[in-house]
């Protein structure tokens, strides 16, 4: 049967035995020096000072000695397109060594298949997307749910093993597609049960029920009162900052009291929390301040006749300044809308100005299972310990990750810091994400690494089939040692 030097490709069920230098039946996977590799472009991060051209042909790179006696390698091999060896206990597709500041570093590069994975989506908006816990659907299939809201944002939790594998085949497929598209920076339309339709794309403003969200709130209604009370003092008698969460009222608010703003006899619907702070003034929605109201007067009851006075000046504004209206009380103490005085338009503009652009941000979250870790070392749990001890740096397509405390290697990464199209999928269904483990060569040997599979960085280039991309200047360079040798003694 098969020769010793042939390797078995597990990219498809044909399971070709491929001889060195040959391709499998598909012409897509091949045996390069005993390693199963994809002929598709393999992404290599070039450490460039500026993020100019995103794709740099290898031979045009600066090759001359830069004058440093020990120069850090300016190239880092990412796992994108590296292929994977799942589910076998065999070395990862690429194990690459390079010298950094005199320390031999090893980067183990693989693409992990993540059945346990998902994305956390932060959508900067006050608009109500739907009740918490309600299902979020893509193409009609449940792919996640609305989770607890955060400052100025609605949060979605999508994917996870239950939607990927626990539901119908179609639910799993659609979930996988949704995660893949979000992670690769594509726009995805999501629908919340009993809620809004929202178009989400990493790094772009959300589009909620066909309306492009532009700004993130400056703060809750109460906080807005606190921030702008001084600017309103003397120019207006009462200000109501309409907010679905906490509506603020200037004359009753601590900030107003401190300034000596007199009572106005205003009566707000909803539940009073502390002075000048009201909950539930309306139903959640996509209008004023994330409520369902189009007419702000709807949250007011008649003014108290004993306190209010004709001519009282009232400003109503939302937490983003996007909605605002100015009223004066007539003889019957009824608010009558008037043009916003120029003295107040400045403060409304200032609210807007202090609102940051609304964005959708997508964090990929996945857990590196035992078999992936086994591609790094013969003793997988040691890799976990090494990551815990900060001897091993984990990156995802060269981007920094946050490692969740506790067991396993469960990490989160901002997909917008990764190279384009870094993610793939398998029909399980599951997502394929790049993951790189970088550590000192000695540490790699100590944790039972595949020392005989370590290849010098120079040996994999120049070769065809590598895609060079510039490193992002805001990402830490993956090869700088996590700990200096001195600090480990």
């Amino acid at each position: 049967m098969p020769d010793d030097d042939a390797i078995r490709c597990d990219a498809c069920p044909v399971l070709c035995y491929i001889k060195p230098g040959r391709l499998g039946a598909c012409d897509r996977y091949g045996n390069r020096d005993g390693q199963l590799v994809r002929v598709d472009p393999h992404v290599v991060l070039d450490r460039a000072l500026a993020r100019g051209a995103s794709v740099v042909p290898f031979l045009e790179r600066e090759q001359e000695w830069d004058g440093n006696i020990v120069s850090a390698p300016k190239t880092f091999v990412t796992a994108i397109g590296a292929g994977t060896t799942y589910p076998d206990y065999k070395p990862a597709p690429f194990i690459i060594s390079s010298e950094v500041e005199g320390v031999d570093m090893v980067t183990v590069v693989t693409e992990g298949i993540f059945s346990y994975c998902g994305v956390k989506v932060k959508i900067d908006t006050d608009r109500h997307l739907g009740p918490e816990c309600n299902l979020v659907r893509a193409q009609g299939e449940a792919v996640g749910h609305v989770t607890t809201g955060e400052y100025g944002s609605q949060m979605l939790s999508l994917g996870g093993v239950r939607h990927l594998t626990g539901g119908s085949r179609r639910e799993g497929t659609v979930t996988c597609d949704t995660l893949l598209n979000l992670c690769n920076g594509k726009a995805v339309e999501l629908k919340v049960d009993e809620g809004a339709a929202v178009v989400v794309q990493a790094g772009k403003p959300p589009i909620i029920d066909d309306v492009l969200e532009e700004r993130m709130r400056v703060g809750c209604g109460s906080a807005t009162i606190g921030m702008f009370a001084k600017q309103w003092y003397g120019k207006v008698d009462e200000v109501v900052v309409v907010d679905d969460h906490i509506t603020g009222v200037l004359s009753e608010h601590q900030a107003g009291k401190l300034l000596g703003v007199p009572e106005t006899g205003i009566k707000i619907k909803g539940r009073r929390s502390t002075p000048g702070r009201y909950f539930q003034v309306a139903e959640p929605g996509t209008a004023w301040g994330g409520t369902n109201i189009e007419d702000p007067l709807a949250i007011l009851q008649p003014f108290k006749a004993k306190i209010a006075w004709p001519g009282l000046r009232l400003l109503m504004v939302s937490t983003t300044g996007e909605h605002h209206a100015y009223f004066e009380l007539d003889e019957a103490l009824r608010p009558v809308q008037k043009d916003l005085p120029t003295t107040l338009s400045e403060s409304v503009a200032r609210i807007k100005e202090n609102c940051e652009p609304a964005l959708c941000t997508v964090l990929f979250m996945g857990g590196a299972g035992g078999s992936l870790r086994a591609g790094v070392t013969e003793n997988p749990v040691r890799l976990t310990h090494s990551v815990r001890d900060a001897l091993t740096r984990v990156t995802c397509g060269g981007a920094p990750v946050y490692i969740w405390p506790g067991g396993g290697i469960t990490f989160m990464v901002d997909v917008s810091r990764m190279p384009e199209n870094a993610f793939g999928y398998v029909p399980t269904p599951a997502l394929v994400a790049p993951i790189e483990f970088t550590l000192r060569l000695q540490d790699y040997a100590d944790l039972g690494g595949y020392m005989d599979h370590v290849r010098a960085l120079a040996s994999i280039m120049p070769e065809e089939g590598h895609r060079h991309v510039s490193a992002r200047p805001d990402n830490p360079w993956p090869l700088f040692p996590a700990k200096t040798p001195e600090s480990q003694s």
């Binding site: 049967m1 098969p2 020769d3 042939a6 597990d10 990219a11 498809c12 069920p13 044909v14 399971l15 070709c16 035995y17 491929i18 001889k19 040959r22 499998g24 039946a25 598909c26 012409d27 292929g83 994977t84 799942y86 693409e111 298949i113 793939g424 999928y425 398998v426 029909p427 399980t428 269904p429 394929v432």
Partner: protein, 300 residues
């Protein structure tokens, strides 16, 4: 990593592309929009499990079939077995010789079973299954073996009234191994899997045994699990004299005529080093430029 089958419309919005492992299919259906939509849906649904089914009995399909051997059970595998059966007694052949044509047939059958189509073709890496309603026709173009200087050297009009529903091409330069030295042998037959098997058989017969300028290696030395095993497969062909080319083509032509007489093929075009032999081909002279694009099937 098992990649998922890829299914998408090509940028022209008309043709469907299917890919899974080593299978690459381009297909097109002609009819009302609702019928072609149903056909594409049926094609995609059928396609996603084809590779897994084949791989489930790959070991059987890589052996020559005899009356005693275990018979394949999958519908694609059965098409393969049927297509190679006529050759089993006279030469070495495994069902794998008809895999591409059988897949094309199977996808086409799924499409025509689900929708009423005027015409359709399913092209699996050059092995093509055709559907023609009465009165319909396809024009096929044949191009030279070199993609870098592709030139149409002839056309054939396939009418619904004629029995041809399958086209296949074999040669040593292709993705599959060949025992012969033909650059390309294109066969028209009643079904795609039949054409596929016959093209393999005829291309193997275009040969110059023991010729020093033909470089051959054992198939297993290149691809350890290939169905051709210890058979010598062609990896390169050096200079040949015009007479040698003629001799090689003679062998293929003789084989093709035998198959034609037996009704296993309807026509064949044999190509080697710029020389062409036509057997039973309704080939028209090289006037392809006049044909409308969507009526032409360009076949490499």
């Amino acid at each position: 990593m098992r990649e998922r089958a890829e299914i998408r419309l090509l940028p022209d919005g008309r043709r469907l592309y299917l890919h899974d492992g080593p299978i690459d299919v381009i297909l097109e259906a002609f009819g009302t929009t609702s019928e072609t939509t149903s056909a594409y849906d049926a094609a995609a649904r059928r396609f996603v499990s084809v590779l897994d089914e084949l791989c489930g009995e790959l070991s059987i399909l890589r052996q020559p079939l005899t009356a005693d051997s275990r018979q394949p059970v999958g519908t694609v595998a059965k098409r393969m077995a049927r297509a190679v059966a006529p050759y089993a007694a006279r030469t070495f052949i495994t069902p794998m010789a008809a895999v591409a044509g059988a897949v094309a047939e199977e996808i086409l059958a799924a499409m025509t079973g689900a929708a009423h189509l005027e015409r359709a073709y399913v092209n699996d890496g050059g092995d093509i299954a055709l559907h023609l309603e009465p009165g319909q026709q396809f024009v096929i173009g044949l191009i030279d073996d070199r993609p870098d200087r592709a030139s149409l050297f002839g056309t054939a009009v396939l009418e619904a009234s004629e029995p041809v529903r399958g086209i296949a091409t074999s040669g040593w330069r292709g993705r599959s191994f060949s025992l012969g030295i033909a650059d390309a042998v294109t066969v028209l037959a009643d079904q795609a899997a039949m054409a596929d098997a016959a093209a393999t058989i005829i291309a193997n017969a275009v040969d110059l045994p023991e010729h020093p300028n033909v470089f051959r290696v054992r198939a297993r030395d290149v691809a350890p699990d290939n169905d051709l095993g210890d058979h010598l497969v062609t990896q390169g062909v050096g200079d040949l004299t015009a007479q040698e080319i003629g001799t090689a083509l003679d062998g293929g032509e003789t084989r093709a005529r035998t198959l034609l007489t037996e009704g296993l093929i309807r026509a064949a075009a044999l190509h080697l080093r710029g020389q062409t032999r036509i057997v039973g081909f309704p080939l028209h002279s090289n006037t392809l430029g006049n044909h409308a694009g969507d009526r032409s099937l360009v076949h490499a």
